[in-house]
Symmetry: D2
Subunit: 490 residues, 4 copies
């Protein structure tokens, strides 16, 4: 019943955060009813690699509702690095498997925090993969430890397992629902028990989760691109507050343990996190981003010669801006495909060599030109400053920065790795000061309503916003218990 767990602790080579981007903390993928389920999970996670590059784990179950065994393999690094041998999949047998890629937010980067987490409960093995973040995990953990629970990880997700373990309800499903009633925050979960797979989303559906089918197998994934890559057909999204159960016979049942809610999915998924080839909430992510660029061009035109994206995340919005404005789209910045960690010291003369390792100005193109630079967002502002400087060093006559999201002025507590509020440029400065800080000739962000229009809404409804947009508005859709308990402010 205990999973045979092989831990691989390789030096990571490409976690490579520069501290000035927002990071989704994870992607999850599960399948039930497929031969060599674990290898499909690896392929699906590979397609979700952009959601978490630090570590990866896969757990499989070989058996049926009566008897079977769990297996696990996890390691630090990319999917293709950790699952670098066909033999590994032979050690992850069974028709049900789920996996997780993570960028650490809550909990350090230790091996013990690599998901899926697993526990041998009284009712049998229980595996859980979590995308999101609980906003009352610390408070619940303190209480559980007082009562005798022993935590093996520092992950907020383990709280759910202990709540399930100590629940007094008779069935594992009831105990799971009992546990979820106690947690607050964002969670899309894929769980496995010997009875089958359970996928669910928090009442607001803050983090995404979709459902697909390939032959007789049912697949769950953070984004539709993972369905595409494994060859599965999209069925529908798991709804906010919905719990979908699939057993070994492929029978699907839907539960709504929290009643009906109007969801508030994260709008930043459209701006940055999701892959452009995913469809989210019925809307193509690529087209939403291009539409943001068009809104930007309408709201904040610029008199310029070239539209230049900050690659790769700024490309769709730049295409939209160029199409709307008629200014030619050109690759004024070239992105290296080979970005590793930062042990290589820049030489004395190399100004901003760390940025140059990733991005290099296309000097022959930029020289003497007035350019509109399109990026997805500004976090601390340090990267924008370097990129604007790089354009000037390459001879750009004017640099007009246009940002495909509103100012990021508040931290996220729902599973996105944002700095503390006081480090966010938009929390510290007004627009003019920001333009000055990054040394751009002009700076503009898309408006919050422009953003809502681009993702298909007429307007943001202030009384009951259609999305979680707290990072732009400070309007958090749940209590933030741990924050309040700690005496800090959002």
């Amino acid at each position: 019943m205990t999973p045979t767990d092989h831990i691989q602790d390789t030096a990571p080579w490409d976690i490579g955060a520069d501290g000035d981007t927002l990071h989704e903390e994870c992607g999850i993928f599960g399948v039930i009813g497929a031969r060599s389920a674990s290898s499909m999970v690896a392929l699906g996670l590979h397609a979700l690699q952009h959601r978490g590059q630090e570590a990866v784990g896969i757990t499989s179950y070989d058996g049926n509702a009566d008897a079977g065994e769990f297996f696990a393999h996890r390691g630090i690094g990319h999917v293709a690095h950790v699952f670098n041998s066909a033999d590994l999949f032979a050690e992850l047998p069974g028709n049900m498997a789920s996996g997780h890629v993570r960028y650490s937010t809550t909990g350090g980067s230790g091996l013990r925090n690599i998901q899926p987490l697993f526990a041998d409960l009284a009712g049998g093995g229980f595996s859980i993969a979590h995308n999101g973040n609980l906003s009352n995990a610390m408070t619940l953990k303190l209480d559980l430890v007082q009562k005798g629970s022993i935590f093996q990880s520092t992950s907020d997700t383990e709280v759910i397992i202990h709540l399930v373990a100590t629940s007094r309800y008779p069935t594992l499903l009831d105990r799971f629902v009992d546990a979820l009633r106690l947690v607050e925050g964002a969670y899309s979960l894929i769980c496995m028990t010997k009875e089958g797979m359970i996928a669910c989303r928090d009442p607001l559906g803050i983090r995404p989760l979709v459902m697909g089918r390939i032959k007789d197998a049912i697949v769950f994934a953070s984004e539709t691109v993972a369905l595409d890559v494994v060859g599965a057909e999209f069925i529908r999204e798991v709804e906010p507050g919905e719990l979908v159960q699939v057993d070994h016979q492929g029978i699907i049942s839907s539960h709504r343990p929290f009643g009906d809610f109007a969801g508030r999915p994260c709008i930043f998924e459209h701006v940055y996190f999701s892959r452009p080839d995913s469809v989210m909430g019925g809307r193509s992510v690529y087209e939403a981003r291009r539409a943001i660029g068009m809104e930007l061009a309408k709201e904040s035109p610029a008199d310029a010669d070239l539209v230049v994206p900050v690659p790769d995340s700024g490309v769709p919005a730049a295409i939209g801006y160029a199409q709307q404005s008629g200014i030619p789209f050109e690759l004024g910045i070239i992105r290296s495909h080979y970005v590793g960690r930062t042990f290589i010291q820049p030489s004395d003369g190399a100004r901003h060599a760390d940025v140059k390792r990733k991005h290099n100005a296309n000097r022959a193109l930029v020289e003497g030109k007035r350019i509109v630079l399109i990026d997805d967002s500004i976090v601390r502002g340090t990267t924008s400053l370097k990129i604007v400087q790089m354009m000037r060093d390459a001879g750009a006559a004017e640099v007009h920065m246009r940002i495909a999201s509103p100012p990021t002025s508040h931290s996220c507590f729902y599973g996105v790795d944002t700095p503390e509020r006081e480090k966010l440029l938009a929390a510290r400065m007004d627009l003019e000061a920001m333009a000055d800080y990054i040394q751009a000739d002009s700076l503009a962000f898309v408006s919050i309503d422009g953003l809502y229009r681009a993702v298909g809404e007429d307007v943001r409804k202030p009384s009951c916003p259609q999305f979680c947009d707290a990072c732009f508005t400070g309007d958090y859709p749940t209590r933030l218990t741990d924050l309040i308990e700690s005496g800090r402010e959002a």
Copy 2:
């Protein structure tokens, strides 16, 4: 005098060739006169990573013309993987260093073949990094072995070292020139002796080599992008047939041991190998590629809704095609940034999952549209077939393939990893058969003269072509001694 050599044999994770792209076999970088020269070399090689992903080596020299010591570190994998610790640079001290990234052509992928190669000669240590391929290496090697030379690698480059070692001339420079007189083919070389650095290019200048300056240091690199990234200023190209010597005082001397030649640099560097932000032969690579796209649009227009690049190599030509034709440029294919080796087996239902791991159709955009698909070249044709199919699976109404180079009909013997001629699609079929094979609604290649125009020439001069274009024309600029000796045909 012997370099302290640390060999690191890590499992490579991303050599990842699918056998249907052309590979440059190497990039080289050297610097003399800089503090922490080896870390600058690593940064420069990182910028040249696209020229060789299999292995990397750096050799440094700590000392002066009278006395000093060589050091080396090499390993399998990317620069950022092999040089993954700041400590390594402490083990590569000195003001002179050079390095090499390789994709193996001649010689297997064994560790012994990782360059720079080094030998303790009678006159002192001698290090050599080579981009290119000698076309008479086997013939020379047989002769050397007969006379008692013992080869430690299977690389053609080692032939040069043994020719230097056994030359009867008194000085190391004379012996080096003596050796070069005996070899034929393509070579850009960066060598180190205790006297300083020697950079040279074969008489036709087939492979590129540029020279730059940063403060008091002189830098040599395969492409200008490496100068940009380390912060060096471009001085000029090393000329075809030129040998440039730099001593520890920074004194530069130029030699032309083979007399004056009109060079014939490789035209494929402009089409595919070089980074778009490099300048080659005075021409921006990005602009040459965009100009190829414009030529293609003029020569081979298509009635379509979207221009879609095969990312990333097809992007500049697609922008040119879109600008010339007025058809919108859109990202109809999304490229994953996380492409590893192929141990992850595709699931049963996943058609062409190996391609999908790298490229995924942007279905929402493509569906129902007539598209012009732009790629840089066709080698075996297998990738083109899969990409066209992916577009059709995503609902494209028509797929018109346009290729930003002439048909690749001949093998390269100058350092590019081409398949044998009989495996090249353009050597096996005419245009119509090729279109049929890849299942495109139409197929066109840019003309050889269109290509020459795009890189800035009025026309190709058939009697003395300005470039080596043998892969398109079969017009090889040197003897192919090994090939002739082996009884095979080009």
Copy 3:
């Protein structure tokens, strides 16, 4: 509060059991009050390496009763292999540390089972290192899991931690005693809390534990040899049923939570497990073994030319046998110092090459001679058979086997890795059949009373034996709850 845990999973190279020896499952060592405590622990564990070669772990505590942090490092392999860098000790700071070497009995060989185990309890961190085996662990675990405890290892030791975690008593010490009241079997424990170190022994004192002093530091160890090697002075044994607490000021307090008991320490420690240079129960282990040899010579003389030990464990008894009998002691078997795992296949012609890799006959000496062969014990008998055969192949005229312990006829449930009873040669055969099986000319074991005499007793008291000798007599000193629950028989 959470230990920074570095897990190292190296392929073990020398676990190398042939399945025909008895293995002590562990050695433990702890120190409080010493600078660089962790490096003293490593040295102490190195001296206890014979008690467990599979894995090793060290946990340290840096701080005092008010505040501090726990650190841990563990790995598979020998102490000198896992702790192979001075840097590791810098990562294990503090004046208190404890460690564990193990040969796995209960619980597989997974990394999660490497001790010391650690948990963050409500009262603070708690670390535990255990030598012995609980005979009711499975029964207790089932109950704990029902109530919501989640086990992370398969080790019986973790039961103690969960019992502590869920105890309702107010102080950590009370909760620890509460936990010990529930367990049965053999345990010598070294625990750490932020208040200090706790060392204790089960009421019968089945496994050994001694106490020493070096300067201001107090040391606990499984055997006195570890005190010698770290330079500590022996104080006394921890008594059966005693719990010794040492705080950060060096104040020692002794508790007897179970009342007074006459202990029954394991007699096999004298026969085989302990190092000959240890003193156990006031008696030199070397001298006890030599005395066993003398008893053997009196009880079972042989007409022979040479006394030959099976090295190294048979040497002291062979010296005693030779001294008593007057037959010369000679090295008729040479032991290799370099015994690794068994991947090297024997060649076709090599008979018993696996044994020969460890032991080789000294043919020149043995040829034509009548020899008395002395070994410590017979388990399955397969090794004895091979060794006798090796002597005959080398030309021995007669081989008389003498065993320095009574017949091993019962399994151990107190932390020694014995095969199931039906695999023990002495459980399957009488003396004559055994002699026949191993093909010796004669075979004799020391009598149980001879053994008691050799360890310093006049006679074994059948009503209340002075030692645990269950493996020879079947007289188990505790209930065997798990065995009874499972319906099997001792």
Copy 4:
């Protein structure tokens, strides 16, 4: 023709020299005519592990005199560590294989120096494994490099390969003999060419080499123990100055290219290097050592209670001393089986902890006794000092040191790792000063004639000594060209 070479660079764990023992630099083993020859070589090298613990390599040849391929695997560490997978032998196919264990003397410990060395010569592949040391290697190397030879290792052995490569003789055998005529010093060699195996010994036969048979295969090894372990039958020694050739049909031919010589094999093999279960020059090594102990007892009796060996090398002489003197033989020092490298720092209070990790006093035995301590030799004297001190710390009343060899007063230039002469205790002091230095109550060495008697000679013949005993007498049997050229003194 080029061997597929897999280099494994693992951190060695047990090279563990304390600088105060003499080290044989290597053991060699070869077999021709056996299935899975490489695995027999591994087994044979395992039996020779005491001759070199730093690194190991095996080369195999799969083919016949007409065609075939060489394969190699080598690594740092013990045989059982480097050859730790059965798969490795599948990568070393063929009926002929040879191998080498080394302790580095000449040449650093780099991977390139691990033998067998291999080269692709004009006549085909050539592999060489060498035990011994050439005393004119530097002189020859300088000359070869002048003529254009490129050395890849710093090993003296590579000189032989280059001499073969550049010889003008027609056949490989003639070129090999031509090469050997130029070298001076000690060499036992096992070479492989596609024609078969060549084993030879220098004209004085300084290093050992024996020949055996197993079924149809011929085996060569440094010592007979390796024949025993693989199950081969001893045929005879390869004679001093003899070259034995074995082809793929098993035909053996013997050559004496240097004429007839009276050999002078190394006498230290009998004292220390060889395993006691080997037979060398027709004499059991164990019996020679016991006889040395008897000579010592006659020459230098002591009034004492116990004879205590320094384990393990002192044991046979101690047995002899005890038998001759009638003083009981006892294990007063216990040796740990688990001696690793020295990263574990001794604690403050631990006096001589580095020695204690290996050896611990058996205090209960030694206390109050007068002991005769027997060791094989004294090099620098530092170990003897610590051991004597350890005996005193354990309460010994008197310590009488007896050494089973004459004073080691001169360095070895024939393949034994001795310190420079000025560091040898016996070169710096007379007997009394030595006794004083090591703080023994008395000190005695066996006489040179006593040693000769123990190995079976009546007396040492001063005009033509039967052995090389230069380390005791300074009577070097060859020129020492490199030493002379370097201006130093023996």
